[in-house]
């Protein structure tokens, strides 16, 4: 029985929740205004194990997925391939910037984090 529940919840978590990344920074701001949400910018680059950990494990977790989809418009920027708007500083990747719908900075987090820590970070961003 336990196994069935687990299997179902695994399937459900795969099928239902998936982080809906905005296609670009500008699109994210437009969408945030419309949906009255904050923006989560993830700065990453290739060959960054911590970024991979975030993508493969933390963002695969349904609690994280739900939290992000509920409260944020997430957008992914590659510091080597994408234009990085002024003010979104970083000393390395991944770096997370949380902005309000007008693009004003609310919070910055440097580096990767495990699931509960990252949930904590998401929750600490003021509405």
């Amino acid at each position: 029985m336990n196994k069935i529940v687990l299997a179902l919840s695994l399937i459900a978590s795969c099928a239902l929740a998936e982080i809906k990344w905005a296609p670009s920074y500008d699109a994210a701001l437009v969408q945030a205004k419309k949906e009255k949400k904050n923006v989560m910018v993830m700065l990453s680059k290739e060959g960054c194990p911590a970024c991979e950990y975030m993508n493969d494990i933390v963002f695969e977790e349904s609690a994280v997925e739900n939290e992000i989809n509920k409260k944020f418009v997430p957008v992914h920027l590659d510091i080597h391939h994408d234009f990085i708007p002024e003010g979104l500083g970083y000393i390395g990747t991944p770096t997370f910037h949380f902005l309000n719908e007008k693009g004003a900075k609310l919070k910055r987090h440097d580096g990767g984090a495990n699931i509960p820590t990252f949930l904590g970070i998401l929750n600490s961003v003021k509405k």
Partner: protein, 594 residues
């Protein structure tokens, strides 16, 4: 409860981890070693590592007359998720020379570029810095050969084991596929020598005869080839199908009752090889087909005949063929399935080619030997059945079954029959000797097995004083020792020197960890493979200081992560697994780090 935990640690985590600024993380330094050598060192901050590939040293002023003759480092690298990295401060020796006449003190300028990450979870941007150091140019030797590129980058080979992806490519480029194809070809040849393929001989001869008298050998060969190839196509299709279906069946093959059912099918099939019953297409169908063949001419007609006769002899060859197909199904590889079955049918076709080309002049004479080959197939089928049951039974029971099979074979090979009239060195006496060897081996398997042996190569281990774990294996499967702190882990590592240790980082809030437990660790084959390890589970559900300290110590961001320690208690860097792994991937991984 889970949420309370998370909420509690949300508060803690707001404080967050603070990362070193790049200038604290990497502190480059240059020192003079002797008159014409400088050492460049990068002092790494806490938890910082540097990519070997990204560390570059160049002459910042190529025209200043001072040249770098050799650049050399002996700092050890470790494997970090497939990349060689420096975890200790890299030191690079740069030998200097001058390419024009210089005198007096002059600054040598070294351009250093590097890139690294913090194992707490941040990757820094590429960094660059210029280091300067005064050198006495009078003491530098003059390099006369101006045309040659002066810088020779010399590095001592660093011990590094292969990462997972390298090994996967190795297996693909390696010979195992050829081995399978060759074995199937041989298998096909053997099959052709069973009474099974005999119905095909009248078919092929009638087909070829129908082409008219006085057919040239060339033409006859061509027609036989068409026939054989058509037959091969039929089997290849079967192989591809088995591969495709097998891909989905693979998971099913982990379930004990399905394995048992298949093993029983194999036992039943083997009975037909021992003439307990006969598996054959009714005679009237056989004769109809061969009559049809004689009426139909042309290449296409022959091709159709080949294809159809593959289907009719099918049931007769069924038992071994089903074995081959099930084997292919287990690999879940359609391409391999097609290739293997093609090889098998070409093997089967070789005698037919000979018969066809020579218009039946060469025909194997049926006799005792054919029954021997049939019996060999029967034994192979029983062997496959036992091998499959190995996943259901524990190792000891499987060993007893092998012992039984060996004795069965030995007796049938006449191991205990008197030689009678047969002279020495006749084939009969040789077979008897072989049978006797098998009998001895089988008996030792049975005797050792009854005392609890599990190793097929060392069945008598239980009687040696070594007294190794004759474990009641089933009960110790998957039992992880649960711990939460570095102290506990250190104690376990110290206690288990001489054993290999596998450490699973787990947390209740980690779905991938649960998936690992439910799917991978509970897999029967994985359980068996994990028996070789002392299993430790570090529970970091609390995400408190102790959890953070232990993840920090082992340089992982969080669960799921699986670390491996060797007999000396040293972490096998390249073996670390981050994230979920399917049972078969996990097994391959365990196999690779043996």
């Amino acid at each position: 409860m889970r949420w309370i935990t998370i909420i509690v640690f949300m508060v803690i985590s707001v404080l967050g981890v603070s990362f070193l600024q790049p200038d604290e993380a990497f502190k480059p330094k240059i020192t003079a070693v002797d008159d014409d050598t400088v050492a460049v060192e990068i002092i790494l901050g806490d938890q910082i590592y540097l990519y070997k590939e990204k560390l570059k040293i160049e002459d910042a002023d190529p025209k200043d007359g001072i040249e770098f003759t050799t650049i050399n480092t002996t700092t050890k690298t470790v494997d970090h998720e497939g990349e060689s990295v420096y975890e200790e401060n890299p030191i690079v020796m740069v030998d200097l020379g001058k390419n024009k006449s210089l005198s007096g003190e002059q600054n040598v300028r070294v351009k250093l570029s590097y890139q690294g990450c913090s194992s707490a979870g941040l990757c820094y941007e590429p960094q660059e810095s210029i280091l300067e150091m005064p050198v006495d140019t009078d003491k530098l030797s003059l390099i006369t050969n101006l045309s040659a590129p002066a810088v020779v980058k010399k590095e001592l080979p660093t011990p590094k084991s292969k990462s997972e992806t390298d090994q996967i490519t190795d297996v693909i480029s390696g010979g195992s596929v050829w081995f399978i194809v060759l074995s199937f070809f041989g298998f096909g040849l053997l099959l052709a020598l069973t009474p099974c393929v005999f119905p095909m001989i009248p078919i092929i001869s009638s087909v070829i005869m129908a082409q008219g008298e006085g057919l040239g050998a060339k033409r006859a060969f061509f027609l036989s080839l068409v026939y054989v190839l058509a037959m091969a196509v039929a089997y290849t299709i079967a192989g591809v199908l088995a591969g495709l279906f097998g891909a989905n069946l693979q998971a099913a093959f982990q379930t004990p009752w399905i394995i048992t059912v298949f093993a029983l099918v194999f036992v039943l099939l083997s009975l037909s090889m021992f003439d307990v019953y006969e598996l054959q297409i009714p005679n009237f169908i056989q004769s109809r087909i061969s009559k049809l063949g004689s009426q139909r001419g042309g290449v296409i007609g022959i091709a159709i005949m080949g294809f159809v006769s593959a289907l009719i002899v099918g049931p007769c060859v069924a038992a071994p063929l089903a074995g081959a197909l099930i084997y292919i199904g287990q690999t879940g590889d359609a391409l391999l399935g097609g290739v293997a079955l093609f090889a098998l049918s070409i093997g089967m076709g070789v005698p037919l080619l000979i018969v066809g080309t020579t218009s039946g002049k060469f025909m194997p004479k049926p006799g005792m030997w054919m029954d021997v080959i049939k019996a060999i197939f029967g034994v192979m089928l029983l062997g496959i059945a036992i091998w499959m049951m190995g996943r259901v039974f524990d190792e000891n029971t499987t060993l007893l079954l092998w012992g039984g099979l060996a004795i069965f074979v030995a007796i049938n090979a006449g191991a205990l029959e008197p030689l009678g009239e047969h002279p020495s060195w006749s084939s009969r006496s040789n077979v008897k000797a072989l049978g006797f060897l098998i009998l001895l081996y089988g008996s030792s398997l049975l005797i050792g097995g009854m005392a609890g042996a599990t190793n097929l190569l060392h069945p008598l281990d239980p009687f040696l004083n070594k007294n190794q774990e004759i474990s009641p294996s089933a009960s110790i499967h998957k039992k992880f020792e649960k711990i939460t702190s570095i102290e506990e882990l250190d104690a376990i590592l110290a206690e288990n020197k001489g054993k290999r240790v596998m450490i699973d980082f787990y947390a209740d809030w980690c779905t991938a960890c649960k998936e690992l437990e439910e799917k991978t660790f509970s897999d029967e084959a994985v359980k068996t493979a994990m028996d070789e390890y002392v299993l430790v589970q570090v529970d970091v559900t609390a995400n408190d200081d102790a959890s953070k300290a232990i993840t920090k110590k082992y340089g992982i961001f969080g669960p799921p992560a699986i670390l491996f320690f060797d007999e000396k208690g040293v972490k096998n860097e390249s073996a670390t697994i981050i994230g979920f792994k399917e049972p078969n991937e996990f097994l391959d991984h365990l196999g690779a780090i043996k």
